[in-house]
């Protein structure tokens, strides 16, 4: 079964309060050497049938319009299992 993964991350120049909170927790836990943390979302889309170029184009459009908001987020679509 093909699986496509969409990673959605807050844009690099945008404040990410959740990532900032995790970053703060890391330093409180005494874990040094971490320069920054950003928190994003991962979507796993398990597909029926075969993966095709056309379907990937459709998935790209879904990632851009529904799964992410281009004003605040960047996304990457990748095929985890063809």
């Amino acid at each position: 079964m093909p699986r496509v993964v969409v990673d959605v991350m807050p844009k690099a120049d945008l404040l990410d309060p959740q990532g900032k909170a995790v970053y703060g927790a890391l330093s409180r836990l005494g874990l040094g050497g971490v320069r920054g943390v950003r928190q994003g979302k991962r979507f796993e889309l398990d597909l029926e049938g075969q993966l095709s170029e056309d379907r990937l184009v459709d998935l790209h459009r879904v990632a851009e319009t529904l799964l992410s908001n281009p004003v605040i987020e960047d996304f990457v679509v990748r095929v985890e299992q063809p």
Binding site: P10, L14, L15, P17, Q18, V71, I72
Partner: protein, 223 residues
């Protein structure tokens, strides 16, 4: 004069918005999210709440609802549309307004009486206020931080499209203390605080919110 109030499955302040519309002297018409029929209304309010649960992003799924298709085309033709809180988020997701709303910088939901300065009285929803008037409305949100890129912010400022700004401590990390904005034409307004919770002295912090709803009456009559 008929003002539609949209109910999504997770809408919460639709009853309050309808009450505010009625108190302003208009007929409040309930609109259901699953229909693209606007029932001949003259203006539309998108109320606060969690539209479709908002687990993905606030307003992200509502954007694709049948009613939003109709609201979007009506808005582009000039119909007055007010998005309050979740409604503001939906308007941004629908690209009727620029920018986006993100989680409060405190990472906590905040509910409080909030001072605002009205900075644009030329919109369909704010004409009954005086410029730079300071008012108190209810603010209640978890994802109310307004963000946009530098060019968009500059354009909003240059064109006077910041409708209202927070007074005092910034409650949610909004850029430039922005509480509300409008589109170029001024018929579409998005507002994070809740004017519908400030329409009587008994159940809210005064009546400063009423004029959002009376403003639209004169806008429609004038149109």
């Amino acid at each position: 004069m008929r003002v539609g109030v949209v109910t999504f499955p997770g809408s919460l302040d639709d009853v309050d918005a309808r009450r505010a519309v009625r108190l302003a002297g208009a007929d409040a018409v309930p609109l259901w999210h699953g229909t693209d029929e606007l029932a001949g209304v003259d203006a539309v309010v998108l109320p606060g709440g969690f539209s479709y649960g908002d687990y993905l992003r606030c307003g992200a799924i509502a954007r694709f609802s049948p009613v939003m298709g109709a609201v979007t085309s009506a808005a582009r033709r000039g119909m007055p549309v007010l998005g309050i809180c979740n409604g503001f988020q939906i308007l941004c997701e629908s690209n009727l307004l620029p920018g986006a709303l993100v989680r409060n910088d405190s990472r906590r939901f905040v509910c409080r009486d909030q001072g605002l300065r009205i900075e644009n009285t030329a919109t369909a929803w704010t004409s009954a206020y005086t410029l730079r008037e300071e008012v108190t409305l209810v603010l209640k949100n978890g994802e109310g931080g307004y963000v946009a890129n530098a060019a968009t912010l500059q354009r909003l400022e240059d064109e006077g499209r910041v409708v209202a700004r927070y007074l005092g401590d910034n409650p949610n990390g909004s850029m430039r203390e922005i509480a509300g904005i409008c589109n170029e034409r001024g018929n579409v307004v998005g507002l994070m605080p809740h004017p519908e919770h400030a329409v009587n002295d008994l159940c809210g912090p005064g009546t400063d919110g009423s004029r959002f709803f009376t403003s639209v009456l004169s806008a429609v009559v004038a149109a």
